[in-house]
C-alpha cells in the first residue's frame, strides 16, 4: 500500500482531520446526479453544500447534519493517467512527475474510496493503453496506482494523451467522474475535440504537471532529455536571455492552455508538488462545483 500510504500520511500530516474532512466534503459536494433517495445523515464538514444540510435534524442533534443520498455511493471515478516516458521526467519543482501523478491520482482515488465510490483507471502511452476495472477498495486503488507508477519509466514509449483519451472514449461506457492526470503543454484541435466528446459523457477534472526548466541557474547535476536520450547541456543554465525567452514561452503556453480549457469548460489545475497538490485538488473540486452550477 506504498502509494496510498503516502497519500494518507500526507493528508494527515499536512492537514489533520479537519482539512481531510473539508476535502471529503468538497468531494461529496462536487458530485453530480445526487440521487433523490435519502440514505442517512452525517456530520457537516466544511465544503458540504449548504443545500444538503438537514436543518431539522441539525436542530435536534445540536450539530449540523447533512443528508446523504443513495446515489452518492454509486459514482465511478475513472483515473485517466498518461504514463509515457515524459511523465518519468522531473517537473518544475524538481519533483518526479511520476510520483506527483501517482500522488494526485491517489488522492482523488482515496477521496472516492472513502466516499464509497468505485475507482477505475485508464492509462497508457503512444503505443499501449490499458483499462483497469472499477472497484471500491483501497487495495484495488493501490493496485491501480502501482500499475500506473510502474508503467511510467524513462524507457517507456512517448506520451500521447490523445491516444489514451481515444482509448477511454472507446472503452469507458458508463458515466464517470474522469480525472485526467497528464503533462500536456498545449491543447491541440484534436485534443479539444476529444475533450468535448468526453465532456458529453463524463465529469472532467484535468490535472496538469509542469516540466523542469532546463535554463534554471539553480539546477545542479546533469540533465538528460528523456525523449532524445541526450544530455541537456549545462551551459544553458547561464544565459539570462535564453531563460527569459523560455520563461515567457512557458507562460504563454500555460495561459493559452488555461484559456482553451476554460473555453471548453474543463476544470483544470496545475500541480507543482505534493505539498500544494492537496490545495490544488481542493481548488479543482471547488471550481468544479461552481462550474456545474452555472
Amino acid at each position: 500500500m506504498a502509494h496510498l500510504t503516502k497519500v494518507k500520511s500526507k493528508l494527515s500530516i499536512h492537514a489533520h482531520r479537519k482539512v481531510r474532512g473539508v476535502l471529503e466534503g468538497e468531494y461529496a459536494a462536487a458530485q453530480i446526479g445526487r440521487g433523490i433517495d435519502f440514505n442517512d445523515l452525517r456530520e457537516y464538514v466544511r465544503g458540504d453544500d449548504v443545500k444538503d444540510i438537514d436543518w431539522k435534524a441539525s436542530a435536534r442533534g445540536r450539530q449540523l447534519l447533512v443528508k446523504r443520498y443513495v446515489a452518492e455511493r454509486q459514482h465511478t471515478v475513472m483515473l485517466c493517467v498518461s504514463t509515457g516516458r515524459s511523465m518519468a521526467a522531473s517537473n518544475d519543482a524538481m519533483v518526479s512527475k511520476r510520483e506527483l501523478a501517482t500522488f494526485v491520482a491517489g488522492m482523488m482515488g482515496y477521496l472516492a474510496v472513502r466516499h464509497g465510490d468505485r475507482v477505475g483507471m485508464v492509462y497508457g502511452d503512444a503505443e499501449h493503453q490499458h483499462i483497469r476495472p472499477t472497484d471500491a477498495t483501497e487495495l484495488h486503488l493501490e493496485h491501480l496506482l502501482a500499475a500506473a507508477h510502474d508503467a511510467t519509466t524513462p524507457d517507456a514509449p512517448a506520451s500521447d494523451l490523445a491516444a489514451v483519451l481515444r482509448y477511454a472514449i472507446r472503452t469507458v461506457k458508463r458515466r464517470t467522474i474522469m480525472v485526467i492526470v497528464a503533462d500536456e503543454v498545449q491543447v491541440t484541435e484534436e485534443m479539444a475535440e476529444l475533450l468535448r466528446r468526453l465532456l458529453a459523457q463524463h465529469e472532467l477534472l484535468f490535472f496538469t504537471i509542469g516540466d523542469v526548466d532546463p535554463t534554471d541557474a539553480a539546477l545542479t547535476g546533469r540533465l538528460y532529455d528523456i525523449d532524445a536520450g541526450v544530455e541537456v547541456p549545462e551551459w544553458l543554465r547561464h544565459d539570462r536571455r535564453l531563460r527569459a525567452q523560455y520563461a515567457s514561452l512557458v507562460q504563454h503556453e500555460e495561459s493559452g492552455m488555461r484559456r482553451r480549457l476554460d473555453q471548453l469548460g474543463v476544470v483544470h489545475e496545475r500541480v507543482r508538488d505534493t505539498e500544494s497538490a492537496i490545495s490544488a485538488v481542493f481548488r479543482l473540486l471547488e471550481r468544479h462545483r461552481h462550474a456545474r452550477r452555472r
Partner: protein, 355 residues
C-alpha cells in the same frame, strides 16, 4: 677550422611520442564513450525540450557553443601535438671531423746575402703551399749570426700570406738598389765575424716550436749554404741532435754554392738526414717541390682522432606548435569570457528596461 656538418635529425624518445599519442586517442575515446553513453540510472530527466530548441536564442547559443567547442578542441589537440613533439625530444646530431691540423712548419732561412735568391724562391713556393693548408701553423725565422723571428707559428693564413709576400719582395730586392733587403734582415748579424751559423740557426728555429706536450708533427724547412763564418754556440751535428730530441724533422735546402764545399755539404746532408728529413740542392730540377712533397708526407704522422659528435636539441617546432595551441586556448577562453560578459550586460539592460 672545421665546420660542424649537419647530420641526422631524429627523435630521442619516439616510443614516448607513440605512447602519448595513444594516450590522447584513448582519452578521446573514453571521453566520447562517456559522452555517447546512455544516460545513467539516477539521471535527472527533462521532457518537452522541443519548445526550448525552437527558441531563437537557443539556436544562436548552440551555434556559438559549437564554434567555441570546435575551437577549444582544435586548440587542445594542437597543444597536445606540440607537447608530444616536445616529449619526443627532436635532436640533431652534428659531426665535426677532427682533422685539426697538427703540423707546425717553421721556415728557417739563412739570411746571408748569398742565400737571398734561394730564399726568395722558397718563400714563393711556400705562398702556394699556404693556400692549400688547413689548420697547419707556419712560422718564419731568419738567421745569420743571430736568429730573428719574423712571425711565430700561426694559422692566420692571411697574415702568413702577407708576411711571405713581404719576405719574397725583400729577398728578391737583394740584388737591386735600395735598403728594403737590409731593413728586412736587420738584426740577424750583430758581430761582423759571426755569420751563417747553421747550428745556432737550426737550434733557434727548433726552439720556436711551442706546445711541447702535444703530439704534433714538427718540420723545419732549413735553407742555407752552410758557409759558417766564425764560432757559433752549436755545431751542426749538435743542432741536428737537438732537433731529433725535440722530434722536429729538418728538410734542408742547400744553395748551389754549397756543392763547391764538399765537407760542408756532407755535414749539412748528414744533419738533415739524421732528423729524417730530405736534403736538396737548389738548382737541382725540383728541389723545392721535393721539400713540399716531404712536408706533405708529414701528414702521415697525423694523429687519428675520432670525429667529434655533438647532439643538439631542436625543440623549436614543438615549442611553436604548443605555444600556438595554448595561445589559441587562451584566446578562445578570453573570447568566451567577453561574450559571457556582454550577455550579462545585455541581460541587465533588458531587466532594467522591463522595470
Amino acid at each position: 677550422m672545421n665546420e660542424w656538418t649537419k647530420g641526422d635529425v631524429s627523435y630521442l624518445w619516439p616510443w614516448l611520442m607513440v605512447g602519448l599519442a595513444l594516450l590522447v586517442v584513448a582519452l578521446l575515446v573514453v571521453w566520447l564513450r562517456v559522452w555517447w553513453r546512455r544516460t545513467p540510472q539516477d539521471a535527472t530527466y527533462v521532457a518537452h525540450t522541443a519548445r526550448l530548441r525552437a527558441l531563437p536564442r537557443f539556436r544562436s547559443l548552440v551555434r556559438r557553443q559549437t564554434a567555441v567547442g570546435a575551437a577549444l578542441t582544435l586548440a587542445a589537440l594542437v597543444a597536445c601535438t606540440g607537447a608530444i613533439l616536445l616529449a619526443g625530444r627532436l635532436q640533431e646530431t652534428q659531426t665535426k671531423e677532427q682533422s685539426e691540423a697538427n703540423r707546425d712548419i717553421m721556415l728557417c732561412l739563412d739570411a746571408s746575402y748569398s742565400m737571398a735568391e734561394v730564399n726568395a724562391e722558397v718563400v714563393a713556393q711556400f705562398q702556394e703551399i699556404v693556400t692549400e693548408l688547413e689548420g697547419e701553423r707556419i712560422g718564419l725565422t731568419i738567421w745569420n749570426g743571430n736568429a730573428i723571428t719574423v712571425f711565430p707559428l700561426t694559422d692566420d693564413y692571411d697574415f702568413v700570406t702577407d708576411q711571405l709576400r713581404i719576405a719574397e719582395t725583400a729577398f728578391a730586392s737583394a740584388l737591386s738598389v735600395g735598403d728594403a733587403y737590409l731593413d728586412y734582415i736587420e738584426g740577424t748579424q750583430v758581430q761582423e765575424d759571426v755569420a751563417s751559423q747553421l747550428g745556432d740557426g737550426l737550434v733557434s728555429c727548433v726552439q720556436r716550436f711551442d706546445r711541447e706536450d702535444e703530439e704534433r708533427a714538427r718540420a723545419v724547412v732549413l735553407a742555407s749554404d752552410n758557409d759558417v763564418i766564425g764560432e757559433g754556440i752549436f755545431t751542426v751535428p749538435e743542432a741536428a741532435e737537438y732537433a731529433v730530441e725535440n722530434r722536429a724533422v729538418v728538410h734542408g735546402i742547400a744553395a748551389p754554392s754549397t756543392a763547391e764545399r764538399a765537407g760542408d755539404e756532407a755535414e749539412f746532408r748528414d744533419a738533415v738526414e739524421e732528423t729524417g728529413g730530405t736534403f736538396n740542392l737548389v738548382g737541382g730540377a725540383d728541389s723545392t717541390e721535393a721539400v713540399v712533397e716531404s712536408i706533405n708526407d708529414l701528414e702521415a704522422k697525423k694523429i687519428e682522432k675520432p670525429p667529434l659528435v655533438q647532439t643538439l636539441e631542436r625543440p623549436q617546432t614543438g615549442i611553436v606548435v604548443t605555444a600556438l595551441g595554448v595561445g589559441l586556448l587562451v584566446i578562445v577562453w578570453a573570447a568566451q569570457g567577453v561574450l559571457a560578459l556582454v550577455d550579462r550586460q545585455g541581460g541587465r539592460e533588458q531587466r532594467g528596461g522591463r522595470r
